[in-house]
């Protein structure tokens, strides 16, 4: 693990006795002492703390910042107001996903793109290669940001102890440039767990202190306190919320229309890379669709397993796992569009055994919204 990149919180993870793994070239905590089930459930019932500093950040500044990013992505950047963020897809000419990302609008000449760790270099090259005549300046700022996510029903209450900014005034998918524990940072009401919560972008040198203060403010160590959570819990949480993971539900050869993301494909917004392919796919209808399923037979589906319908191999599992909060075995899979309906019986090839499952509504988990 010597050649792996380390986040500014690496030492703290080791102090917390996390199990570290290689994730996309980064040495990351997969789980801490509590284990994935407790970390997952605590995030749903109280709060969880995640180091997501491996994510990539790219600044796009200049006159054409908005038209440029609008040309690269499927969602409509022109609809963003200052201090607002949107989920979007960076598409190739075939409508496939180069990556999924968040687009943050600071002002009309300044956007921040937050991309996946595994694809940061690829995205950077892709974005640069399409700069052409656009009047923009690009900066790969990934090394100048640490990112900490605090997620769960108590996230706001805990983070509020460390900031004078009024967090209740930050709307969902909105952000502010504020201060946490006296340090400048970006506080964004976003996340990847299906819970309310915040993602905090901060200078790497400040990360350790903020991480520690958040654990303290969340009563880490107490029976019902906050827990640091590893990538394993991050994955099961996002899966229960049926959020896409790049490389699984999305890839260069999977379009956002197939992956149930037509809500972020604004095909009428004007020209963008992949628009024609997506328009064609929409008119003809997608041939395969992403669906959620739940195991009926005892057994656990895993990523990559084959899906059988009416006795024939018809698709494959993109992500699957035991769901710690729902206490079911769930998954996402691609199936032919004609079978993509709730209640459809399917079979999963679990190491040679065809086990019964049923297509269910997604998300599997939806949090109860409180006023």
């Amino acid at each position: 693990m010597e050649n792996l990149k380390k986040t500014p919180l690496n030492k703290l993870h080791r102090d917390l006795e996390a199990r570290m793994v290689d994730f996309a070239g980064w040495e990351m905590p997969i789980q801490y002492q509590a284990g994935v089930i407790e970390e997952h459930i605590r995030t749903r019932t109280f709060a969880g703390l995640f180091d997501v500093s491996h994510m990539g950040e790219i600044w796009v500044t200049g006159e054409d910042a908005i038209p440029f990013v609008n040309f690269l992505t499927t969602n409509d950047v022109s609809r963003l107001s200052n201090g607002q963020a949107q989920y979007s897809i960076l598409t190739n000419e075939n409508g496939g996903a180069v990556d999924d990302l968040l687009v943050y609008r600071f002002n009309e000449k300044k956007l921040l793109l937050v991309v996946n760790a595994a694809t940061t270099e690829k995205d950077w090259d892709w974005i640069n290669s399409h700069k052409a005549s656009f009047s923009v300046t690009l900066e790969n700022a990934s090394a100048s940001f640490a990112q900490i996510a605090i997620q769960g029903p108590k996230a706001q209450e805990i983070l509020q102890k460390l900031t004078e900014n009024v967090l209740s005034e930050i709307g969902y998918y909105h952000f502010i440039e504020g201060k946490v524990d006296g340090f400048d940072c970006i506080i964004s009401r976003t996340g990847y767990t299906g819970e309310d919560g915040f993602e905090i972008y901060i200078e790497p040198e400040r990360a350790e202190q903020i991480w520690k203060k958040l654990l303290d403010a969340g009563n880490y160590g107490m029976k019902e306190g906050i827990l640091p959570c590893g990538l394993a819990a991050r994955n099961t949480l996002r899966l229960e919320a049926a959020m896409s993971l790049y490389g699984h539900e999305l890839s260069d050869t999977i379009t956002p229309l197939e992956a149930n993301l037509s809500w972020i494909c604004k095909l009428e917004k004007g020209e963008f890379i992949g628009r024609e392919a997506l328009l064609k796919q929409k008119q003809e209808g997608v041939k395969r669709k992403l669906v959620g399923f739940e195991m009926v037979d005892k057994g656990i589906a895993r990523d990559g397993f084959d899906v059988y319908i009416e006795g024939e191999k018809k698709g494959y599992v993109t992500s699957a796992s035991p769901a710690p909060f729902l206490k079911k075995n769930i998954g996402l899979a691609f199936v032919p569009a004609e079978f993509a309906k709730v209640g459809q019986d399917i079979k999963i090839d679990v190491r040679g055994k065809l086990l019964g499952a049923v297509i269910v509504k997604t998300p599997f988990y939806k949090r109860q919204k409180t006023a």
Binding site: I30, G35, I37, I300, R302, S321, P322, P324
Partner: protein, 128 residues
């Protein structure tokens, strides 16, 4: 790491307790720790026969799946049904309540090919 003295061990991280020609088998503390939270245990059927080091079942955690290998040749005479409903026992009591199968052993001398506690400890230290 808990490695009881009175048990024998396989390099696949199973433990075995021999009593006459009946062997009780489970997975080691090291194995359960490596897997993390166990959520599913699949065991063989009573009457099934296995050669030493053949897969006879599987243990699944949230993140991973691992096969269970019989450390010794024999016939399954009993399985631990409580693991169907309480797979987490594998994490909390791997050498006790989470025993997995009992085998009628073909040749009890075969146990000598398995590691002693000291040898297993050494094996773990050399491979991890």
């Amino acid at each position: 790491m808990n490695i009881p003295e009175n048990l024998r061990y396989s390099r696949d991280h199973e433990w075995l307790l021999l009593d006459g020609d009946i062997a009780t088998v489970g997975i080691t503390d090291y194995a359960q720790k490596s897997l993390g939270d166990i959520v599913y245990v699949e065991l063989p059927k009573i009457g099934e026969k296995f050669n030493a080091h053949e897969p006879c079942g599987s243990v699944e955690s949230v993140k991973a799946i691992s096969e269970i290998f019989t450390p010794i040749t024999g016939e399954v005479i009993e399985i631990n049904e409580t693991l169907n409903d309480s797979p987490e026992l594998v994490n909390t009591d791997p050498y006790g309540k989470a025993w997995m199968v009992k085998l009628k052993v073909q040749n009890p001398d075969e146990v000598n090919s398995l590691l002693t506690a000291a040898e297993y400890k050494e094996y773990l230290e050399s491979t991890t």
